[in-house]
Subunit: 312 residues, 2 copies
């Protein structure tokens, strides 16, 4: 079993690789871990490659002829995509197309799990977004990912790959430093106060946000590498399950689990640009199809925050 | 007023240019007519350029700094897109992106009228397709056009262009020879028998087809160059009005207007590939938004066929 992970040094990339190595008893599991920096996982089954997805020769090198599954996570995130339009298009659109083109050269059409985003959706949205919602992104990140969903679907229809696009909710709570995603604060308003650091919530406390714990997001992406894509019908895009929460509800949970002093370290200071774009993202989805496809969902916000407190 | 038309030597391109020259009293109207072959319209106000949309330097040359309106019609049609995937992607996706990139260099964001297609839609469709229908193309042509709709929308959101994507119905009745569109037969089953030539209908007679006469399609595309795009809201794509007809209804009309002998020259011989793809295209749309935006619609199938009989 040969598996390629792009964005392998990133938060989800590392977790997916760890999960793949952990769940497999077979010494035949071989992971090619590609990223701009070296993936930190040192394991004889992991072959670490350093390069950029925009680089056609790098893409051809990492997509080996006998690859079985590709997890394509490499991307420029939403904040940087908005400020650096051309970089976002080059990495998120052209990089994905290069990957799909390289996959056409494989011996068999590989499973491609494309990490898409709920930011593909925008415009006037119903309170519960159905699977058939028209795609009207209102950010450059969302637009690029929506274009790639169409590419994954078309390359699959042509039989070049066997693809599935997973719209990943905002993953929280992430450990470590803030990143360039506009949703970075969703982790920050829990992570920083727990570390004794003051934090700012840049959106109103009643903003609806669609989140997934790192464990659930990792499990679901790994699962997407295994499922029978025939069960997807002609719709190759899946809205992964998540929880619909507000920053206010997250802070209530934080107070329950860590006390009022910790919560008091967070103050609201609305940043109009962040609030405007985050406000266009859907706050809740109909997840019945995803559950039928065997994807999993977090129990509640307390369990999400507890997951961070016990593992970070 | 400087206007660029790509695909200017094509059927709709020539008609749009003729309409633009006819409706304008101003000697300041200047049309750059670009295509792979020279546009046949000889007029001092028309500047004819020969080149390919995939050619970046050609695109930069034809998108002059002071361009006001761009009609982007150049495309590889549905039949060729299906048999020559890479050519379709290069012309229909990369060519459109090159055009949009060239437009970023203009003095003011030009109006870009992008000629999209009802083939952007597919999957499970309701009998009357709403504007909010999720986009699930089932052809390479439709997929490429759907990707371009997202590009036009995103480049507009960023303020690089002021774009509108018009999903053009199957244009019938076209004069001349069959083309590489899978919908070519829709014109053929009327045009050929009227010329005393036998014709084949490659889809079942009760297949629902969404059509527009050449006059209505031309008028609507020209109109898209004039309307206030603020009236579009965040949705830059419009399903142009059309008529929902079946080949059977078209032949009934042909018989009414030209007699049973003419109709008898058409026989049904289903081609599975054509029937399969044409069968995924929507057969009827809710056109209330398009009518509110001032687009026009043909009266009935008799008037569509009569338009061909009196002008071809």
């Amino acid at each position: 079993m040969k598996i390629l992970v792009t964005g392998a040094a990133g938060f989800l990339g590392r977790r997916i690789i760890a999960a793949l190595l952990g769940q497999s008893e077979s010494p035949d599991t071989h992971v090619i871990a590609a990223d701009l920096t070296e993936c930190p996982i040192a394991d004889p089954r992991v072959d670490r490659r350093v390069g950029a997805v925009e680089d056609e020769s790098f893409m051809r090198a990492i997509v080996e002829r006998d690859v079985d599954v590709v997890y394509h996570l490499a991307a420029v995130l939403s904040g940087q995509s908005e400020t650096e339009f051309d970089v976002g298009m080059r990495v998120n659109v052209d990089g994905t197309r290069r990957l799909l083109e390289a996959c056409r050269l494989a011996a068999r059409p590989p499973r491609v799990v494309f990490s898409s985003t709920i930011a593909a959706l925008g415009g006037t949205l119903p309170p519960i977004v159905p699977e058939t919602q028209v795609v009207e992104p209102e950010s450059s990140y969302g637009a690029a990912k929506a274009i790639c969903e169409l590419l994954v679907s078309e390359y699959s229809r042509r039989g070049f790959v066997d693809g599935i696009s997973c719209r990943v909710p905002t993953v929280a709570i992430r450990p470590g430093a803030p990143n360039s995603a506009l949703s970075s604060f969703v982790s920050g308003i829990v992570r920083e106060p727990l570390a004794g650091v003051d934090a700012i919530c840049p959106v109103p406390l009643d903003t609806r946000i669609w989140i997934s714990s790192p464990d659930a997001a990792t499990w679901n992406l790994v699962h997407a590498g295994h499922i029978a894509t025939s069960s997807l019908g002609s719709r190759r895009t899946v809205n992964l399950p998540g929880l619909s929460v507000t920053p206010g509800e997250m802070l209530d949970s934080l107070e329950r689990l860590a006390g009022g002093d910790v919560r008091a370290r967070v103050r609201v200071e609305v940043d109009p640009r962040t609030a405007r774009i985050v406000g266009t993202w859907p706050g809740a989805f109909d997840i019945s199809r995803a559950l039928r496809l065997g994807f999993t969902v977090d129990h509640d916000i307390d369990s999400v925050i507890r997951q961070f407190m016990t593992t970070a």
